[in-house]
């Protein structure tokens, strides 16, 4: 690439015109399209190209490193560091970042989210700021989307780092503690955000004397930033201690639940998130179980298990929400379509589900520590991100992370045609049109990628295609080990690939097959044809699917097929909002633009609601996070040798303390005391977490008392935390009091103090913060006064609302 060539700025696909941008700014949107202010620095980076052609890269990198450690401003070092990476890339891999990639690197350096089109080489972009920030030796984390990408990127980019003397490492789910510690010592570490979060939690539970795995956080570059920072942000990372599996009565309850009739004995709410027994169902359950009224205080545990069994039976769908493989339940992530390792449903729901599928009970556990990705990533002093789809999430990125979005234009203009959605009145018409479209493209020799909503749908579609004589490849959570091979062939002429969301992020489909040998043929047929069989809840995910076509200026087409019977449409009542005439079934696509607007609106509503949920999650978890930091700091002091609280025990009960010292020696005695203190510390935290979770469950009800749930939650959480400190000492003293200063007693203690054994993430199955009671109680003075002015109107309005809210 000619170094003097300046990229055409401001011509990214979908770059709005001046008016649009003005409107965006007026509405407070925080997207940067104008990259002209980056140009002087870009020119300086590119200008160094000739000078470095024959230079000793290692020596120059070392000099930069010295300056960085001497406290030089990174901005001054940037042009040379970036230029060094470009040259090193050229020498090591034959890949020199394009000017637009340098722009992306500049945006990352400024701690922003860079939107780069798919196939524009994000991996290479990340190297630029990673090297710059690694110069000071504080450690840079590149947080990849999955373990495979962490390994691939670290190895692929390794030679560049090596040329510059920057050490690089990666770690994945299976890495051992020593490997992890070493990986964190490297200048640049590739890993997933989840692994980093888990290690953070592990460090928070380490025994005295053990060195921490991680160094203090410095700079993180998040790949697929919108997915990690927005969509996955509400997934709490959990570290748990194993408990023996408890069968309880799950099997019996499962049989009982199965005998119930939906609609008659139990009902689900419209959004399919909650299920509950009706009066008739309660009668049956009480008769079958023979334990009297289920809502009495003595049956609380039984009722809880019954509810969980019902939830597992009625709401969780096999091959949609989870798959069963190798005698185990594996959760399918709604967003990525992939099986998520070590993800559980919380609080006994997992056991209920295992009973439903007749599987052996896996380990249950209790939560020892938890952190949400939102808060964990907030621990990095500097955070940057890159993704193909940042727009649409800019408000959230700004509000929750203080991250601005910069849209970097593609190296070559995008040639993909995004066709308007094809809308149908009913599913059958959509299915027929889908099959026709697929067959037509296949006949033309155009490769087709079909994105479906679930494992089940992908299998059904594949079966239908097979019946029509069209062979296809299926890529879903069940066939994930074949992923690389299926994707490699997905761009071959006439290839037919049915996928779930799995073929979304990070999937790179080359035209013309694995070796690109028949590329010309495919290009002539119009490139990859991406079909979505649904609209997804988030427009960003629709855009990710579309983005599989038209990479690097390739031709391509994308089109979504939507019917008014689709889950999304029905769930959010879009069909009800349409004029009755539109609901008449017809085979031809609907032409009415109003329908499309309604669907767009539904997606906006969902996005808004999800944002509200995450904002709420943030607000509620913020106090817990601050408490965690406080509690963790106290623990850290204990681990590093602060005198344990029980030293007061020694003063209070000198005789017992002497007996302990006599039994095991003074040093060991203090060690024991320290461990007892740590154990009490962790134990209390576990209880505190459970208490907060419980508190959160019902806090929304204070709204009925005209109080603000969040304020009330903070007040109560604060009280509980204060009590925690008071209880710590009492618990330590009690434990030491119980301790028998004999060999057997010490062994029993050691047994009790065993550390955590497993980590997993939880799927938050619903949102505990939704305003469950749409009730407004007069607390607002302005409304009261207004009501006085317009009381006839107000009374009428209130009555209307009251009648509309009548229970079904």
């Amino acid at each position: 690439m000619d170094a003097s060539a300046t990229p055409t700025l401001g011509r990214a696909t979908g770059t709005p015109g001046a008016l649009r941008r003005w409107v965006d700014r007026w509405r407070g949107r925080r997207v940067e399209y104008d990259l002209r202010h980056y140009l002087p620095r870009l020119a300086r980076v590119l200008g160094l190209e000739g000078e470095l052609r024959a230079a000793d890269l290692r020596a120059r990198a070392d000099r930069l490193r010295e300056r960085a450690r001497g406290g030089a401003d990174l901005d001054e070092l940037l042009p040379e560091a970036f230029a060094l990476v470009r040259e090193a890339g050229r020498r090591a891999l034959g890949l020199s970042p394009y000017p637009v990639q340098v722009l992306g690197g500049l945006a990352l350096h400024q701690a922003k989210v860079a939107e780069l089109e798919t196939g524009e080489g994000k991996t290479l972009v990340a190297v630029l700021p990673a090297v710059l920030h690694a110069l000071s030796g504080q450690g840079v984390h590149v947080l990849t989307f999955n373990d495979y990408l962490a390994r691939r990127d670290a190895r692929w980019m390794g030679p560049i780092y090596e040329l510059l003397g920057v050490s690089v490492a990666h770690l994945e789910a299976g890495s051992g503690p020593e490997a992890r510690r070493q990986a964190y010592q490297a200048d640049v570490t590739y890993l997933t955000a989840k692994e980093a979060g888990f290690d953070y939690l592990r460090d928070g539970l380490r025994p005295p004397g053990a060195p921490p795995l991680q160094r203090p956080f410095h700079f993180a570059i998040v790949d697929e930033a919108d997915s990690i920072l927005i969509d996955e942000a509400r997934v709490p990372l959990v570290i748990a201690g194993s408990r023996a599996p408890q069968a309880h009565q799950a099997a019996r309850l499962c049989a009982l639940v199965r005998s119930l009739e939906p609609g008659l004995h139990f009902e689900t709410d419209g959004q399919g998130r909650n299920v509950f027994l009706t009066e008739a169902g309660l009668d049956v359950a009480e008769r079958e179980l023979g334990r009297g009224g289920l809502h009495g205080p003595e049956n609380a545990g039984l009722l809880c298990e019954l509810n969980l069994a019902l939830h597992a039976e009625a709401l969780l769908r096999r091959d949609v929400d989870y798959i069963v493989r190798g005698g185990r339940i594996e959760l399918v992530d709604e967003l990525t379509g992939r099986v998520v390792k070590d993800r559980h449903w919380p609080d006994g729901l997992q056991a209920a589900l295992e009973a439903k599928e007749g599987l052996r009970f896996g380990a249950a556990g209790e939560i020892l520590g938890t952190v949400t990705l939102q808060h964990f990533l907030g621990l990095y002093p500097l955070l940057a991100g890159m993704t193909g789809t940042a727009r649409g999430g800019e408000e959230e990125l700004d509000e929750l992370y203080g991250l601005g979005v910069v849209v970097v234009p593609p190296n070559r203009p995008c040639q993909r045609r995004d066709l308007p959605d094809r809308l149908f009145t009913h599913r059958e018409a959509k299915r027929r049109a889908l099959l026709a479209a697929i067959a037509g493209a296949h006949a033309r020799g155009q490769p087709v990628l079909v994105g479906t909503a679930s494992v089940r749908e992908s299998e059904e579609l594949a079966a239908e295609l097979a019946a029509a004589g069209l062979g296809c490849q299926v890529l879903n959570a069940k066939t994930d080990e074949l992923e690389a091979r299926i994707v490699a062939e997905a761009g071959a002429p006439g290839a037919l690939t049915i996928s779930t969301n799995m073929a979304g992020r990070g999937t790179d489909i080359r035209l013309g097959g694995a070796d690109g040998g028949r590329r010309a043929e495919v290009v002539a047929a119009g490139g990859l044809y991406v079909i979505g069989t649904n609209r997804h809840e988030s427009q960003r995910i629709d855009r990710q699917l579309r983005g599989r076509a038209g990479r690097q200026g390739d031709p391509g087409v994308s089109e979504l097929f939507v019917s008014l019977e689709d889950e999304l449409i029905v769930r959010y009542g879009v069909d009800e909002l349409l004029p009755a005439a539109r609901r008449a079934r017809q085979d031809e696509p609907l032409a009415d633009p109003r329908v499309r607007r309604r669907i767009d609106w539904a997606q906006r509503v969902i996005a808004g609601q999800n944002f509200d949920i995450r904002r709420n999650l943030w607000r509620y978890s913020a106090i817990q996070e601050v408490q965690r930091a406080d509690w963790r700091a106290r623990r850290e002091a204990l681990v590093q040798g602060a005198p344990p609280a029980p030293s007061r025990w020694a003063a209070a009960r000198p005789a017992r303390r002497a007996a302990l010292v006599a039994a095991c020696g003074a040093e060991r005695a203090e060690e024991l005391e320290r461990r007892v203190a740590l154990h009490a510390h962790d134990r209390l935290w576990t209880e505190h977490l459970a208490a907060l979770a419980e508190m959160r469950e019902g806090i929304h009800m204070v709204r009925l008392g005209a109080m603000d749930p969040l304020t009330e939650f903070q007040r109560q959480a604060d009280l509980a935390f204060q009590e925690l400190g008071a209880r710590l000492e009492a618990d330590c003293l009690e434990a030491l009091e119980r301790l028998e200063p004999s060999a057997a007693g010490l062994e029993r203690l050691a047994e009790e103090l065993r550390g955590p054994s497993s980590t997993w993430t939880y799927l938050v199955d619903d949102d505990p913060f939704r305003d469950r009671m749409g009730l407004r109680v007069a607390g607002d003075l302005a409304l009261s006064l207004g009501a006085a002015l317009y009381y006839p109107l107000y009374i009428a309005g209130a009555l209307v609302e009251r009648f509309r809210r009548r229970p079904r």
């Binding site: 545990g301 809880c304 969980l308 509000e399 209880e687 109080m707 469950r772 109680v777 107000y794 009374i795």
Partner: protein, 440 residues
């Protein structure tokens, strides 16, 4: 309370917020004394000296006395309140607004924006009405309130009144965002409280001149304190119904003494019942100004605020509206349904119908207590003060508003105190993990 004030000096953030609030309220009070250009201030004083005891006085109270002064803030915050209630009502009826409301924060922000536009429109309309009305008014002596009537004056008045209202709206929002408490409520409260120093001063002069006996003043003071104490007590009163959620495996120790509960306030309907009641009772009096018939005058006489018919009707209406409003806003079937849906139940009581019946029973009982309390607060001080012939009217409604807003504000300060260890829980833009400034 003492600890609250003690810690004000210690926490800079809180101090800053409170000072900001006081400063904004001060600016508001100064503006109240700026008369609309083109109006003869002295004539206005003479003109308003006579009229009282109608809807006008209610409006005057809400405008913080600005209406009487014919100041640029004469419309007060009322157009904003009207606009917000209109949009609240419209959202029930118009689907597209309802959709906006459902779109989350973005949609709600848009509705707020519409409410502001609506405020300006209403202020312009009301301002025009006020201008026309001012032009037509003369004092008993025949002096015109507006020496130079005409379109110039009308435009000027519309602009100053609309700008005044927009400014107050802005002040209120600034207080909510950067100060403490709800700005709009505080502005209204400030208007009410502003009458207090005047009244105190007057009482003091009466005392000096011997019009009032020191004993009477003492009794009034004790009475005032007692009424305020009663209001505080009842406003904080709750009946807490315990609720259990059967979705987590139980068997965990609970501590902190807090369990999940359904809090039912003794006074669920706030100040709505007395405001509704008095505006209904004031309506005939206002009407009587326009209808000059003997029977109308009879009705007006029967509904004079110091007559016993007025008092009885007032109490009856308050009790009615307490029940009516509670019934309209609080639907036990809804509450029970919601609880059932999310696995919550009152221990020992079946979810669904039984629970609804139980909540209804409890609610009916405490609403009765609440209705009695509001009636007492609204009627007793007025009656007793009438006995003592005190020079100022500080009625039950105003007291309820002032105490209610004060309680809210104090509880907000308390929240700040609690969360002061928790840096960054709230910020100027809501929650935020960390403000990152761009580098380079």
């Amino acid at each position: 309370m003492a600890s609250v004030f003690g810690s004000l000096t210690k926490i800079p953030e809180l101090r800053k917020r409170i000072l900001f609030t006081i400063m904004m309220l001060g600016i508001y009070r100064i503006g109240v004394f700026v008369t609309v250009p083109g109006v003869d201030r002295e004539v206005v004083d003479k003109f308003f000296g006579s009229s009282s005891g109608s809807l006008f006085s209610l409006f005057n109270m809400f405008s913080g006395g600005a209406l009487r002064q014919m100041s640029i803030f004469a419309l007060g915050i009322m157009p904003y309140i009207s606009s917000s209630i209109i949009f609240q009502l419209l959202a029930v009826v118009i689907p597209s607004l309802e959709r906006l409301q459902k779109e989350g924060e973005m949609g709600r922000r848009k509705i707020t924006q519409y409410t502001r536009y609506g405020t300006i429109v209403l202020a312009i309309v009301q301002g025009f009405g006020v201008a026309l009305w001012l032009e037509s008014q003369r004092t008993n002596l025949g002096e015109a309130l507006v020496p130079d009537a005409g379109w110039g004056f009308r435009m000027m008045t519309i602009m100053s009144l609309a700008a005044g209202t927009a400014f107050i709206m802005w002040l209120g929002e600034q207080i909510t965002e950067r100060g403490i408490g709800n700005g709009i409520s505080l502005i209204i409260t400030a208007g009410i409280v502003a009458a207090l120093p005047d009244a105190l001063f007057q009482t003091f002069t009466y005392l000096q001149k011997g019009v009032m006996k020191p004993f009477t003043v003492l009794v009034i003071l004790v009475l005032a304190v007692a009424v305020i104490a009663v209001i505080v007590f009842f406003e904080r009163g709750q009946r807490r119904i315990p609720v259990q959620y059967a979705r987590r495996v139980v068997g965990r120790k609970m501590y902190g003494g807090q369990s999940t509960h359904l809090p039912l306030k003794v006074n669920t309907s706030g100040v709505i019942p007395p405001i509704f009641a008095s505006s209904i009772l004031l309506f005939p009096a206002t009407l009587a100004n326009f209808i000059d018939k003997p029977w109308m005058q009879d009705i007006q006489a029967a509904l004079q605020p110091d007559s016993w018919t007025y008092t009885v009707l007032y109490v009856v209406l308050i009790v009615f509206f307490c029940y009516f409003y509670t019934a309209v806003t609080f639907n036990p079937i809804d509450v029970a349904d919601n609880m059932k849906k999310y696995g919550g139940y009152i221990p020992g009581i079946r979810p669904g119908k039984q629970t609804a019946v139980y909540i209804d029973k409890v609610l009916s009982r405490i609403t009765f207590g609440g209705a009695l309390y509001i009636s007492a607060v609204c009627v007793l001080p007025t009656l007793m003060i009438a006995q003592f012939n005190v020079p100022f009217y500080f009625g039950g409604t105003s007291l309820l508003i002032v105490v209610g807003v004060s309680l809210d504000t104090v509880s907000q300060i308390e929240t700040h105190l609690i969360t002061r260890h928790y840096d960054g829980l709230t910020g100027p833009k809501g929650p935020r993990i960390r403000g990152r400034s761009s580098r380079g």
